[in-house]
Symmetry: C2
Subunit: 309 residues, 2 copies
């Protein structure tokens, strides 16, 4: 599918991801499972199927494509990452976290199934991510599969995404009697690099691991991933400021009211826009070693920065 346009490639990756997720969430138990409770399966499906742009699996697939892998050879790892992303949305939406009732234009999992089921659906999607990475369809070589586990776990846990979420709650003053904390620019960068950036960077790194990238190629892609991760969050914050709830499929304008720590709030809209353009250039510069093969990821960096939803 090398000749397809970026939107077509995004759609193809999303379709492949959806099909793999549907298969992973089939009714029938796998060897080693006793049965799959229908209520839990339904909640997991509600929180993961038919949702979002599937940007993270797309990045896994396109990074792996730099090394000659077909999308089908990268989609299971992409699905594992997407399971982690979806679990994080389910848990972040909970009443004790961001207390959101709407996500992707639909009721959040706890709004539809109740809090206990939502917690367990998130837990089970996180667990499923590692189950997916453990099988030979993630990659035939066990050494690459276990490296995928390492990358995904480290990006998702206390020093990555989950750590970023607690920093975000702390910034809102949730642990200090409602007083919003004044973060430094460095602290906002840490928070966002962990909460959003880590998983996007992991997507690209997982593609590099799948492709058997050498140290230099892996480092170049890591630089790309960090820049795209930072750009994504700034674009998200600008969208929250300027986008419509209809296009976003969720509540917008919440950041200001909740006292969210964003670079847009700290730097102002104009400076944040300039930083966003710099990050896109950084991301594209990191791809130079890949020559013409890097064109899709270069365009993806621009897409991430300019998306409207």
């Amino acid at each position: 599918m090398t000749d397809l346009s970026l939107p077509a490639r995004l759609r193809a990756a999303a379709d492949l991801t959806e099909a793999r997720l549907v298969a992973a969430l089939a009714d029938a138990p796998l060897p080693g499972e006793r049965l799959r409770p229908p209520r839990l399966l339904d909640a997991m499906r509600h929180g993961s199927l038919d949702g979002g742009k599937r940007l993270r699996p797309f990045l896994v697939i396109e990074a792996a494509a730099l090394f000659g892998l077909a999308p089908e050879q990268a989609v299971t790892a992409g699905c594992a990452l997407e399971c982690v992303h979806c679990y994080s949305l389910i848990h972040d939406d909970l009443p004790s976290m961001d207390n959101d009732l709407l996500r992707r234009g639909r009721p959040t999992v706890h709004a539809a199934f109740g809090e206990a089921t939502a917690i367990l659906a998130g837990d089970s999607l996180l667990t499923l991510a590692f189950d997916l990475l453990s099988g030979p369809d993630a990659h035939p070589d066990p050494a690459r599969r276990i490296e995928l586990v390492r990358v995904l776990a480290r990006a998702s846990g206390l020093g990555g995404m989950a750590g970023g979420q607690i920093l975000d709650l702390a910034a809102e003053g949730r642990f200090a009697g409602g007083t919003r904390l004044a973060l430094t620019l460095g602290q906002i960068r840490d928070l966002q690099a962990m909460k959003t950036g880590a998983l996007l960077a992991a997507a690209v790194d997982m593609g590099a691991v799948l492709g058997g990238a050498g140290p230099e190629a892996r480092a170049a892609l890591a630089a790309y991933g960090r820049a795209v991760g930072a750009a994504f969050q700034i674009a998200d914050d600008i969208l929250d400021l300027e986008g419509s709830a209809e296009a976003m499929g969720k509540a917008v304008g919440k950041d200001d009211g909740a006292g969210k720590a964003t670079l847009v709030a700290a730097l102002g809209r104009a400076a944040a826009g300039a930083l966003l353009a710099d990050l896109v250039r950084d991301a594209q510069a990191a791809l130079i070693p890949f020559g013409a093969r890097g064109a899709v990821l270069a365009e993806a960096a621009r897409f991430v920065a300019e998306r409207q939803a």
Copy 2:
């Protein structure tokens, strides 16, 4: 330590587990982590350190010992399993689940840190489990490490422990307007095999994987693990009926009030006690292929059935 008594071996395994967990929860971020937020680390430590008998790591260590592995060669895998166990306790204790304020004689994580932090501490311990399995100190061979990931994920997820928790909540009538469900014996067995049994069986299976067990030895240990898992739950239910809150370090007598589906309630105390004795005999019979080397696990089966806390 082959000559030590069972209590001494349990204590030695617990000490080794504690030291490995303390190291895994150090302040310093690992490569690939940006920083470790102190509040999240504290909550993870509260929910995992200085707690419990460490029965699951003990079973990993002793099953691996059947194949000549030293405790130090099995403790990282044991810690991974213990992280999953501890995460499950943190989430099960949440207000929207079992709503417990006391665990191991201390405030539960949400009682001490609030609900949002408790959810994230559980999520992060689950994630840490797979991080621990991804490194060479879990086992030098990547093929064995990825098989450990497979076993642990499948025992913990929707077809295992998490699935068992949702069946348990359903049995209490939590999704049907407060009406307790009348489960069949088979349904109670499914629930308990998933909620408690899956992780205990995984402990023994992970020891078998670490030790490079052939199919017959692995199947024998799986039979042992299933029997011990079932025995553990019956013993737990009897303790809930007859034990003291002081010895248990948590609220007891809750099962009856909450309408918990237990085999003790379904069969009566005498028949459940007879079943428990049968399960210990089943567990011990499964060890016959291992000859004298199986003595520690045989004694462990009796210990699980007769423990007083």
